[in-house]
Symmetry: D2
């Protein structure tokens, strides 16, 4: 997170955004019962109740504890129970057992949220210094990340239910005629990437630095479900030559034959979505693929994935708009005719795009001192960078320099494919 915000923003504005982001989280949980908010469907996914509590813990631990002398915690046990991974703060409740903590119940967690919100509100009304305002700001962006996880984690949970529960009904959309992929070329050379200047950014987005690129082209839109079906129908999941060795081992071990959440029903391919089980839409961007599948698809198609520098270089010129969380669609949408602009379309929103770049520190990167230094840096191994945001990401959360990262076998995020090639 670095020196997040060089200039303090007026606290009224911050208070307003605080209320806005916190409310959005509450609204995301509203369609869910106490039962829905309790279990943990795999170690990587957390209960909704935990997300609601942990984001609150963040503000209590990193803002209230620092700002208020002799701070009396709302519930002392929460300090350990809702710590995710901050070793500097102390011990953490055993992650794979988060779903076994039935008390506090959902309503008590909402009480906890309201209580901490009230205290933060009072604090911001009094006014806080630059440093603390920066931590509040960080907390809001942190909360937005957990908003996305609430959606992806509860999707993973509901998908286990044979009743195919619907999180939110979604009206059908008309099919749009889809043009073949076109290519946006770039001449390469010495380019600068990474964040610089005012505006919030995470520590891992800087320092801004130069990269030398060879000439390349980026596809005009993400790979669609229909295109990915062609890969499957061509034996894509059965041909070792298309896969990285680790990817092939994963395919064998887990028996993958299609993207995540795809299943056969009544002799037809369906996908489980937050709107329930639905027949595939060939014109939608494919999502819930791992890096391995994205890489194999690209190889099959005769192309490759973009590096994060290539992606950012072309995305820097594009406005941040698209199908985001605010749409409440919670699923990638087909590219509508007319949306196609000069550059690549759908770079933002819909589905994150795997890059070929391993998640690593930029030259000169140093994590901040203290517990918040654990935010990003310690994960810089074994993960791959994704760019652009998804249908579960809040609109104002992403930007051209934003670096998301997951392990190459992860599929429960909204993660898709954009092709690149040398020119």
């Amino acid at each position: 997170m670095g020196s997040f915000v060089p200039d303090p923003e007026p606290n009224e504005d911050l208070a307003e955004r605080f209320a806005h982001v916190r409310d959005a989280t509450t609204r995301l949980a509203a369609p869910l019962s106490p039962e829905d908010c309790t279990p943990q469907s795999m170690p990587d996914a957390s209960p909704v109740k935990w997300h609601l509590a942990h984001t609150t813990w963040f503000f209590e631990t990193f803002v209230l504890e620092r700002a208020v002398s002799d701070y009396a915690p709302v519930v002392p046990h929460y300090r350990e129970m809702f710590n995710s991974y901050y070793n500097t703060v102390g011990d953490q409740f055993h992650r794979p057992e988060r779903g076994l903590v039935t008390r506090p119940g959902l309503e008590e967690v909402h009480d906890y949220r309201r209580c901490v919100d009230g205290r933060i509100h009072d604090l911001l009304a009094q006014g806080v210094g630059v440093d603390l305002a920066a931590v509040v700001e960080l907390g809001l962006h942190h909360e937005q990340q957990h908003q996305e996880l609430i959606l992806t984690d509860v999707k993973h949970l509901l998908a286990k239910n044979p009743l195919h529960p619907v999180y939110r009904e979604r009206p059908p959309e008309p099919a749009a005629p889809l043009a073949p992929i076109a290519w946006s070329r770039h001449e390469g050379g010495l380019q600068s990437i990474g964040h610089e200047g005012p505006g919030f950014h995470f520590d891992n987005e800087g320092p801004r630095h130069q990269m030398h690129l060879v000439p390349f082209a980026l596809a005009s839109r993400p790979v669609t479900v229909g295109e990915f079906e062609a890969f499957i129908d061509d034996g894509g999941y059965r041909r070792a030559d298309l896969w990285l060795a680790d990817g092939w081992a994963t395919v064998q071990e887990r028996g993958w034959q299609a993207p995540g959440y795809w299943r056969e029903a009544e002799g037809e391919r369906h996908a489980f979505t937050l709107g329930g089980l639905r027949p595939l839409r060939p014109d939608e961007p494919v999502t819930h693929v791992s890096f391995y599948e994205a890489d194999a698809y690209a190889r099959w198609a005769g192309h490759r994935l973009p590096s994060e520098a290539e992606w950012e270089t072309l995305a820097a010129d594009q406005p941040v708009k698209g199908n985001f969380q605010e749409n409440e669609r919670f699923h990638p949408a087909p590219l509508q005719s007319g949306e196609q602009s000069d550059g690549p379309a759908q770079l933002y929103g819909d589905t994150w795009e795997w890059t070929s770049s391993a998640y690593a520190p930029y030259p000169g990167f140093r994590p901040p001192e203290g517990a918040l230094g654990e935010y990003n840096g310690k994960f810089m191994a074994n993960q791959m960078v994704l760019r652009g945001g998804s249908c579960a990401t809040p609109n104002n959360h992403v930007r051209a320099t934003y670096r998301n990262f997951f392990y190459p076998d992860a599929r429960w995020q909204f993660s898709g494919i954009r092709l690149a090639r040398d020119v």
Copy 2:
């Protein structure tokens, strides 16, 4: 379950007992929130919500489906979702993921119970034949088994919570002066064990048959917490020579150093109970020990565990009374002076007693035809017999011939130790 009830009982009586047993189950779940009733803390334990639904499924599947022509199920999906292990009935939902089924919610499951209860009530009001009455009877005893599991499974879950939740407050009891163990001798010889004659019994309790016993003696009461502490303090968990080879391997693998639910708090040994975390009571019968620990303790004490035939031979003369579920103590109680009778005390209730007998069919045993034949027989391998019932067992559920069985490494049941010896 065999040929369960040779003579039909009047259905009014059955209807009354049906209402009584079903209500008892509901009352056991009353102190628990929807969150408490949802997760599964290990594959062997099931969510309370699942127990509530599965016991209802039993009546719907084995009674209503048989009794009512063109029966329309309450919810068709439940047939698979709440089937435990009856392959004959069809597929079963994947057992280790029972805690991920958040819908139906707790209230819907109660609706399901009420709906099936109403239909059964109507059926019994009309009157049913001997065969169906026997299945209802079986269903009630089945439900009582799940009542016990509700208590042991939710205890296992709540024990994961750092807040040490209390299921039910329990007033302290006065310490009772405890006499040393005395021995009830029996001359052995040809004895008959197993159930015969009227009265409900499970299929595995018959046929009644003869066994030849050598002279033996049974301890006057179960091993207490204080006695088991002496075993621990003598290095019991560190001395390989006291253990069966498989037991020793289990001790190493799981790092056992004390019975289940024991933990250190403020420098003292405590036990997590359904009444919360409490200091040990040395005069209570020890419980939550595995067969391996019971066997090792007996070896250390210079004695042995009784066989099930020995236990039954002495228990047959004793009245079935003791500290049962109805007491709502939900924990073994110290032997009260004055309770000591002629024969061994506390044979029934408080804590199940491991025997040295592997769970196997009695000579001439044949499981009934059809799905209900899966009730007991298919588990007759790798498990050990326990006798006598516990503080979580309904009083009218056990009898001298009753055979409970668990794997030798299981500790989450209320399972304790009674010593025996040759004479």
Copy 3:
């Protein structure tokens, strides 16, 4: 091993038998290369080199160390390296890594054998007391058990090799016309089983005691390959109703579809044998089945497995003869016409026969004091008794009271099926 041998045998005789048994072991290893004798193909199986060393360690540790004051071990490290499971003797080398000990090499292990043999020979020439003679005797029976394991363990190893190595060529045998199973009936009642009187026996064979049996019948011969094929062809491995619950789980988990070592080759069922890969012989006794498969087969056939008391009661009248290790056939043989006697045939040799009895102490059993008390007693949980010996057992090693035992999922021993039924 109990109070092994009440009367001392003349030591010359013992010395002769010592030489004979030890030589037999060496001869079993003769067809194997240093490479063959080194690896461990699964944790339960040991390298041949280890068997050669461990049996020698037994004599060094339990005889020479006791007999010779200030005994200087051949190689001090061997005390730990070749201890199998005697906690009383000290630490043991980590069992699953026995195959990684490449030094001492095979020739050095033979040197170790020769050295210890020389010292034992000298000792016996001087004469030893009753107690020590009993330990030597025990060591010889122990060595015979490891002779059988040499054969089963190396079979398991060689079976991993795609070249299908031949341990020993075996001439084909003529097919014998096979009569259907007949039944030997017994009226049951109070019977005595277990060893008593002179002659070597293991501790677990006593004390002799009374058992009450219901009338029963034992099949005239073991189940054959052809009969077992009918079970397979009838869907035996796909019908849950035929299996114990634990057996069914094992079938699913391991994908069993046939007995151990069976495989398809050129469209036909073959078996890998110590004579190489060979087409099935339908008239041979089926072998390499687990207890679960034996139990499922019996259920399918409408019968059951015998208890060990039933088996012993009928076997006590039969002479100990059959197809044993000395035949060097190393595979079960078809029943030859003319072999059929009055009672059941092939009770001894060919293939061990699973009983329905869990391995447990006989009433009044007490293991001997000291390290040798670990020989049998500590394994009395979770295993099932087998009776009768196999084609890999030395002829003079078994008797009617002999109790072999393995886990119910074990298949790498020569273990087969004899049916029983109530009459």
Copy 4:
């Protein structure tokens, strides 16, 4: 391997080098018994016998099969048995069971080597075209990689033996006074890395391309044992803040407290080496550390690891000399005074040096067509680049552009640490 060798070398020269490299392999196996050459101590390590056969398989499959029409394989089964991972060639024997293949024995494998060597010799005597010569060349470099693995894999195996076997005796070396680390600075800017021009290189070393570097400095020598002990003594293995999250999880899971092969003996730290168990030498470069440990050490020291571009930029000016396989020391050596040159010392030989670079394709990289395309490209995920070679690497095998790669948790290679920093 790409377009390995643009200009054909004279085949006599190739034949001579072929003989030389193949002989070197045989010599490495000479101190080992058939037993030593058989087992596999972990899935990642292979038996020496397997290495001897697989390198031969490479020449048979990729040279003889292509060069000779109607080629008759030495042993047809070997095609599958000794294929490592070439899916294009066909199925492969199950990797974790390589140690269970006892036949062919060591002598037969040597026969196989001799036979193929003879045929290759004849082929080269006749002369081969450019393409085939390139494959032979590749096979020799492939064989040199397996020479290194023979040493690291047999070290891993021998380390399991409580007797601490010695692969090769090694005379003690005098301690050398060791200067503190100095720093070689570089001004950064646009640099070219990767192989170009004549001379053998692997496909992953190209294409040569430009990278933009910020100014940096490289340490004058590798981190020593003594320096790493200071890290340990400062609690390095117990401080979460020094580790990447995945590294910390690995430390916990495997209980790491020191580099690989270190152990306590007689109250002192020792290391198991190919010369046996020896007290630590503080002046030797530390080796057998994982990437995680290298990264944590660097963080503790206030520095960082170099990127592969930084390493190559400085190494390009240095001669390839140092402590290599030919020294037969088989362990890193202390830096001798006088060895210190202008630039960083010990860049080559002694111990591989972990870089901060994930192993990924260079811009424009394309693997060759066919089976040999599987050589490098398919491993370009989840691994980290190491540079410089080790005491087990043949001298003429490495160069400045050479990229070695292993998973970040691997420790059985000779892998050490060189520090870098920003300036």
